[in-house]
């Protein structure tokens, strides 16, 4: 990527990263690898999170109490750490969704892009 697009990439990722992760664990608890794969697949490869960017974020969200991690051992498998959304996390997710939607609508109005 060019320098500018790298910057944009970083900034956009920063702003939306929390929203992404919270929304992905909303439906059911997921482990770290699953989350990163989902992000990659649902965005058609546009957004990628590797270890260095994903796990620190997960730990930070856990520290804030928005998600909660739990070691789960399923029969015949190694134990994995699953993350689920907490009650506080639900509230934050709803707020961030609103913010994001308003932001996007505003940008659209300014730049004259029609809603697809």
């Amino acid at each position: 990527m060019t320098h500018i697009s790298q910057m944009l990439d970083r900034e956009l990722k920063k702003g939306s990263a929390e929203l992404l992760i919270l929304s992905l664990v909303e439906a059911r608890p997921r482990h770290g690898y699953e989350i990163s794969k989902l992000i990659e697949s649902r965005s058609d490869g546009v957004v990628r999170f590797n270890v260095a960017s994903l796990y620190p974020l997960l730990y930070r969200l856990e520290q804030r109490g928005w998600i909660k991690g739990r070691w789960v051992e399923e029969a015949g498998q190694r134990r994995r750490r699953f993350y689920r959304l907490t009650a506080d996390g639900k509230k934050v997710l709803a707020a961030q969704r609103n913010t994001w939607r308003e932001f996007v609508e505003a940008i659209n109005r300014i730049t004259g892009m029609e809603h697809a």
Partner: protein, 897 residues
Amino acid sequence: MPDWKREVKNRLSGLQLDPVRESEIVEELTQHLEDRYEESLRGGATEVEARRAALRELEGDGLLTQSLRQIESATSREPKTSASHGRVNVFSDLWQDLRYGARVLLKNRAFTIVAVIALALGIGANSAIFSVVNTVLLRPLPYKDPERIVSVDEDNSRHGFPHDTPAPANYIDWRDQNKVFDQMAAIADLSMNLTGAGEPERLDGRRVSASLFPLLGVEPQLGRWFSPEEDQAGANHSIILSHALWQRRFGGDARIVGKKITMNGYDFEVVGVMPASFQFPTREDQFWIPIAFSQREAARRRSHFLEVYARLKDGVTLEQARAEMTTIAARLAQQYPEENTDLGAGVVPLQEQLVGNIKPALLVLLGAVGFVLLVACANVANLLLARAAVRQKEIATRVALGASRLRLIRQFLTESLLLAMIGGVFGLLLSVWGVRLLKAFIPENISQAASITVDVKVLAFTLLVSLLTGLVFGLAPATQATKFNLNETLKEGGRDSASGSRGSRIRAALVIAEVALSLVLLVGAGLLVNSFLHLRGVDPGFHTDHLLTMNVVLPAQKYADQAHRSAFYDDLLRRVEALPGVKSAAVASQIPLIRQGDSNGIAFEGRPDPAPGQENIVATRIVSPRYFQTMGIQLLRGRPFGEQDRADAPAAVVVSESMARRYYPGEDPLGKRISFGKPQSPDDWMTIVGIVNDVRQYNLDAEPKPQIYLTYQQAGFFAPRHLIIATSVEPRGLGSAVRGAVWEIDKDQPVSDISTMEDVLSESIARQRFSMILLAVFAAVGLILAAVGLYGVMSYSVAQRRHEIGIRMALGAQASDVLRMVVGQGLKLVFVGVAIGLIASLALTRVMASLLFGVSATDPTTFAVISLVLVSAGVLACFVPARRATKVDPMIALRYE
């Protein structure tokens, strides 16, 4: 499968994470990489490609470590409880507790200030009184082996003098005959006029045996002691000066030893100067000369005026000394039946003799301050309990985080001890200031009074008291606060146990204890006040207002014969009475309330001589004719002295009414004759010409003793020393005018001790006043503390019961009902406290009985009044919270959980 674990670990090694956390992170990241690797393989990649894909996940590992470092250090900043880490480091825990405690105290400034004030008062008062006790009772006297020094006196219980001053002949026999003392020494009072070096000045000093200073083991600062050769009649022209006198009158002249000074017209050679710190037994002595008994004086067995001290031989006990002296006294009684019948000898340790009569007062005061401290402790304990109730959530959280109960108790105790230490520091400051104040008021004749200080022992005592105090008031709240139901507390609106029945019972008990202790203190103070008022109200038998007194003592050498002396007094009285503002003037050998002494045995005409040991001892006063008029002493019958009572006229004597009652019951004493001792000639008879009312000659609280008066023209002994002036203006203003009148006659005649009669009276009851004021102050402090404690408890109770009060008011209760309910609740506590206090007082005030005058230790009026005072204070203390309770808005209260 490549070793992904090692890959991850390598990248995280620089982080120095907690081992548990690190292994978790490593495990999770390793998983991720393995999943990525396997998925790549499943997607058809080669091992190399799959490996590369997985490694791509670790790109930006600098960012990874940096982010992890930030996050993990944020986690570790949270407070670790000992349960989660199992550290057993006592000092770091203690330091943590102290810092935490300090933070808590700072956050609740109002509470901390109130608690510190209460503690400072309690601890400070204790330290101040202990300083006095330490110096006066505990500190060894500043002599060599002071516990071996004793005072020896005559036991004249028969005449009401169990500790009489010995006579010279007896002293000499004791000294020569005993085998239990290393040395014996005698002391006699002496005042002399210093002349020839500036203004004539009257100095108070002592005649002492040469053996006194060796007995005490004190070295002079300059020069030497008296030698035995100097202690002989005729050879006694040596003098030793006190440090103060040496500095003041002789400018601290380093070559004073060997110089001559003039006292009473005689030349004395200075042989030594005593150190500044020396005092024996009291601090007023300004000089010492050898006692040097003349032959005549040494033979006197009837004049009792010495103080005798001795040092026990090594190995001799007090009992042995007492037994020996009793034997010697019995022997003398047999040898000299006329003078010594029934005269015993007593031996008392010096320490006891010096402080004996103040010991009870000091011990009472020590007990009193102990009570004050207990009240303060109860107060602070209550405050802490109330605070603990508020801190329930904090406590619960810490328990949930793993703190053990012991740990919490330790935390609370540390806070209490911290509080107590702070209170102790302020208390110490308070006591230093308090000691300074005390010294200004302590009666002068208490030995060592000048050297009362706050010394190391007092500091140690204060520290100990502070620690104990902290434990005492800290333990209850600590154990109480940490005993509770975790679930209940964490639930919203759960009732905390500190406000539950057990907590409030403890607080109620504390308040009751405070009230009881305060009552005891107040009763004690009340009794002393009552006693002092009685004392003050005693009619001394003479006027005390508008009377000026001073000492004018004629030196024996200059005024050797009676005619010369009489001429002086005649002249003096004439001049003084001519001064403006003077109503009348008089002289007397002794004025009331100054000191003991001046008694003589008398014989009655027509009555058989009294048996030895049965002499009639009466107080004897030599006065000028207008003495009664000047002093305001009433003539009851007969006539006062007048012009006709000249030197060549028949001797006339005036007697006091108790003398008349005692020795002439049912008879008229007027016209009867008495004499001093057995009359040697017809001229020795004196005729009773008048009777005057009794005068309290020695103490206000002692019964007046029989007393007789003679005029100075007719009496050859006991020369007058006091000049008394009755004024129509403010007495003190005439001081210099009167002195001027004296110096007109004799410019070298010193005039000293100018004071008003009111001051003399006041000084005579200084000790009682002192005790009273001190105890009253302590009682007031105790009362305030108890009232504050009660107020605190009631406030808290009202706050806790808002819900209930709201319901009551919503159901129609009036403000007055609520008031009555709250005040009633408080008064219940007060009444119980008063009841307990009364019982305790009845038991304890017996200790004070020796300090009381005109009031019994169980005086019902005092008890009743004090109880009323305390109950009123209680009502007042409950009133404010009660009123606050009536202002409760029922709607708000009902909503309050």
